[in-house]
């Protein structure tokens, strides 16, 4: 009996120990010290996008053939702020992650991602990267932390059908914010739909106010005695907020749904319910593939309208390597990033083969323009090579493609960008929901709140 009890105790104890030590076996990848490095990478398309998935599978096969010591495991996981930290802490985050361009500066600041400059330097064309594209994914010392898949500058997306219905020329989107105001008013009056929709929640209101501030010649932060302080309590941001206030309460051109994030806006746009909004050409893909926009011919995009700033914010999808990843795996990850994302944006033959494969699926969006990852001459070669397979209405991107090169590309605020966006979400919401909102007081309060957070972050 005693032996039985001991056995039972040993069994349970052993099970407990096994359960504890077994946690290690939950880690999905090897640590890279063995002969074969298993690299888990985000960016694998979901099963619903068959052509893209097939293309990804071929990419993996080609890469593994060229790099016998590396095995790729694709993951359909996408960036999720709620799970990222937990996965990072638990060691189960992928070795290559994909994040929107709103995230890199925060991840770099919190030291959650690795610099890949050293590994990137080994590539022949490293020096040819477009410095404007690398800037938002670099730190102040110039260390690079990621590779962009499709770099963009923010512009003005518009519904060509609503433009026509309102008596506006769909080939001539507004180029100034005064025009945006006038066009929005006209669209709202003639079609009954919001002429312009402003994002205002989940920090995206502050993000978009940053774009409008840049377009007005302002900035969000400035260096003061070597420390960053808030710089938005100034004329450009005040003009931007006053403009939105006038559009909301005098022109009544912003509609009634005033608490929106990007998904809300693109969903409504895909359903033909929005005249204009701020976005990248990549919103074409989201509207078509994710939200089922059928009349894609209605999609139009122009460069960011200006009001003296001659600048816009850069955007896009970035692939990065978490700081928890070992050096050996990081080197393998950079090989993958160059093979999968940089090479196709450099080599016209690879780009053409990819476009051909993708074009097999009519639901895919092939040929959505991007900013040159290298230089314009190289980008022109790519554009020519993929031309036979393009299925997006390229002429509708012309105002964007001709207008954007004249603008300076500016990055997100360097320190505590999300804190700035959160504080300005509140200011934007006040302007949109309170007829008597005091713009000066709102910005003064936001400045005070942000400066407290900036000071705490730069101790």
């Amino acid at each position: 009996m005693r032996t039985t009890r001991r056995s039972a105790l040993a069994l349970f104890g052993g099970a407990a120990v096994a359960a504890l030590t077994g946690c290690d076996s939950l880690k999905p990848t090897s640590d890279g010290t063995g002969d074969t490095i298993v690299l888990r990478v985000q960016g694998m398309p979901p099963a619903t996008e068959k052509a893209s998935l097939d293309q990804f599978a071929k990419l993996v096969a080609d890469f593994e053939k060229a790099n016998p010591g590396i095995k790729i495991e694709g993951s359909t996981n996408v960036w999720d702020s709620m799970t990222f930290s937990a996965k990072l802490a638990g060691g189960s985050i992928e070795d290559v992650i994909s994040v929107p361009l709103t995230e890199p500066q925060g991840l770099i600041e919190r030291k959650q991602v690795s610099s890949i400059t050293g590994d990137l330097r080994g590539w022949n064309h490293y020096q040819e990267f477009n410095p404007q594209v690398l800037k938002p994914i670099s730190d102040a010392a110039g260390e690079v932390y990621g590779v962009p898949e499709a770099p963009f500058a923010l512009g003005l997306v518009y519904n060509r059908a609503l433009f026509a219905q309102a008596g506006l020329d769909p080939d001539k989107p507004p180029t100034t914010w005064a025009d945006v105001q006038a066009y929005a008013k006209q669209i709202a009056a003639k079609t009954g739909k919001p002429g312009y929709v402003q994002e205002s929640k989940d920090n995206q209101g502050g993000w978009q106010l940053t774009m409008i501030t840049y377009a007005h010649g302002g900035s969000m932060e400035r260096l003061d005695n070597g420390k960053y302080v808030a710089d938005f309590n100034s004329a450009p941001t005040k003009s931007a907020l006053n403009l939105l206030k006038t559009m909301r309460w005098t022109d009544d051109s912003l509609g009634r749904n005033l608490l929106n994030n990007q998904n809300d806006v693109i969903k409504a746009f895909a359903a033909g319910q929005v005249g204009m909004f701020l976005g990248t050409p990549g919103t074409y893909r989201l509207a078509k593939v994710t939200y089922g926009m059928t009349n894609t011919g209605d999609y139009g995009i122009g460069a960011m309208p200006q009001a003296g700033g001659n600048a816009t914010l850069s955007g896009g999808k970035i692939y990065m390597v978490p700081a928890s990843v070992s050096a050996a795996k990081r080197a393998a990850a950079v090989k993958w990033l160059l093979f999968a994302y940089a090479q196709p944006q450099y080599d016209p033959a690879v780009a053409a083969a990819n476009a051909k494969a993708l074009a097999a699926d009519p639901k895919a969006a092939v040929g959505v323009p991007t900013l040159p990852l290298f230089n314009q001459a190289q980008q022109d070669k790519i554009t020519a090579a993929i031309q036979p397979y393009v299925n997006v209405e390229l002429p509708h991107f012309a105002p964007y493609l001709t207008g954007t090169p004249a603008l300076a590309l500016r990055a997100e605020p360097a320190v505590q960008a999300q804190a700035i966006y959160a504080a300005l979400d509140t200011a934007i919401q006040a302007v949109l929901t309170d007829r008597n909102a005091d713009v000066d007081a709102l910005l003064a309060k936001a400045e005070s709140d942000v400066n407290a957070k900036l000071a705490a972050a730069q101790k």
Binding site: A16, A19, L20, S85, E109, Q418, T426, D434
Partner: protein, 318 residues
């Protein structure tokens, strides 16, 4: 001799009786120990699971509240800095006020609603199951789906509510779009989504009320309202009290509604304590501050839980 004889067996009996008693006690202790050991062994898996997934995270959370960490590099001890930072955040007071407003509105609207519904349903003679099913249905809908459904109800342009009110010449109302009505809108959805469980508990408690009490009240000439006031409510007192405390504890932790409906807006009018914790952790990467605020919230909830346990005990005794 006889005395001796009689004494010896007596002493012998005493001794042997004592030995038996001592042996029995030892046997009882052994068997109790055995039972304890078996229970302990059986509890080990539970200890492991609770330890790994409940106690350790709680301890870790408490430690992180005194640290600065990015969850990758070694954490740095910062003493009470995280607590200073959250108390310096102007949004904390607003979030605490909003949370209390949500709790208060939920008490005012959400608490009596299931009681009234259960009282009405208990008078239904036929097809009661259908009503119970309908009342419970919202509970089985995933919370995010409920919120998205109500988001359409509240849509200021094409939403159901404004369309219905418009038929009788009322509105349009801004619902979620105004700081004055946003929180109330969250409470209405939350009440609809969560009251099914409370309705069933009240119904079950009502079944347990002796019919004689109603008969006696009826024979004294009491109408339906008097019967509810003088019989139903006093008999439900323990259930009402428990549900009240449970609602307080759950509504203080409101997160899904403000997160999905409004993101805390407009103008921070729906930022709650839990949403603030979320923002600290997942938007600002300030895990130490998030843990510190979670710790403070946990203390508040522990106080409420203590009240809950105390009340439960006193009601059990009564």
């Amino acid at each position: 001799m006889s005395a001796d004889l009689t004494e010896v067996p007596a002493r012998s009996t005493e001794r042997s009786g004592g030995a038996i008693a001592a042996g029995a006690a030892r046997s009882r202790r052994r068997s109790a120990w055995r039972a304890d050991a078996v229970a302990f062994v059986l509890l080990i898996p539970a200890f492991v699971v609770f330890g790994l997934f409940s106690w350790w995270p709680i301890i870790r959370g408490l430690l992180i509240s005194f640290q600065e960490t990015n969850l990758v590099e070694p954490a740095r001890w910062v003493g009470l800095d995280n607590f200073h930072a959250i108390f310096a955040d102007p949004l904390l007071g607003k979030a605490a006020g909003n949370t209390l407003l949500f709790v208060g509105l939920a008490l005012l609207i959400g608490f009596p609603a299931p009681l009234i519904l259960a009282a009405i349903m208990s008078t239904v003679r036929r097809a009661g199951g259908i009503y119970r099913f309908l009342a419970y249905l919202p509970v089985v809908i995933p919370p995010v789906v409920s919120v998205l459904l109500w988001k359409w109800f509240y849509d200021p342009g094409s939403g159901l509510f404004n369309a219905v009110f418009g038929l009788v010449g009322l509105g349009p109302f801004p619902w979620l779009q105004s700081p004055d009505s946003a929180m109330l809108s969250l409470v209405l959805e939350s009440t609809w989504a969560g009251m099914g469980g409370a309705v069933l508990i009240y119904l079950a408690a009502m079944v347990g009320i002796p019919a004689e009490l109603y008969e006696a009240a009826e024979s004294d000439g009491a109408g339906i309202w008097k019967r509810i006031w003088h019989v139903t409510l006093p008999q439900l007192r323990p259930t009402i009290g428990l549900l009240l405390l449970m609602q307080l504890i759950s509504t203080i932790q409101v997160f899904t509604e403000p997160y999905v409906f409004t993101g805390g807006g407009p103008q921070d009018s729906t930022v709650t304590v839990l949403l603030l914790i979320f923002r600290y952790a997942f938007q600002n990467g300030a895990y130490g501050q998030a843990a510190a605020l979670s710790f403070l919230l946990a203390i508040a909830l522990a106080v409420l839980s203590a009240v809950y346990l105390r009340a439960t005990r006193s009601w059990s005794r009564s």
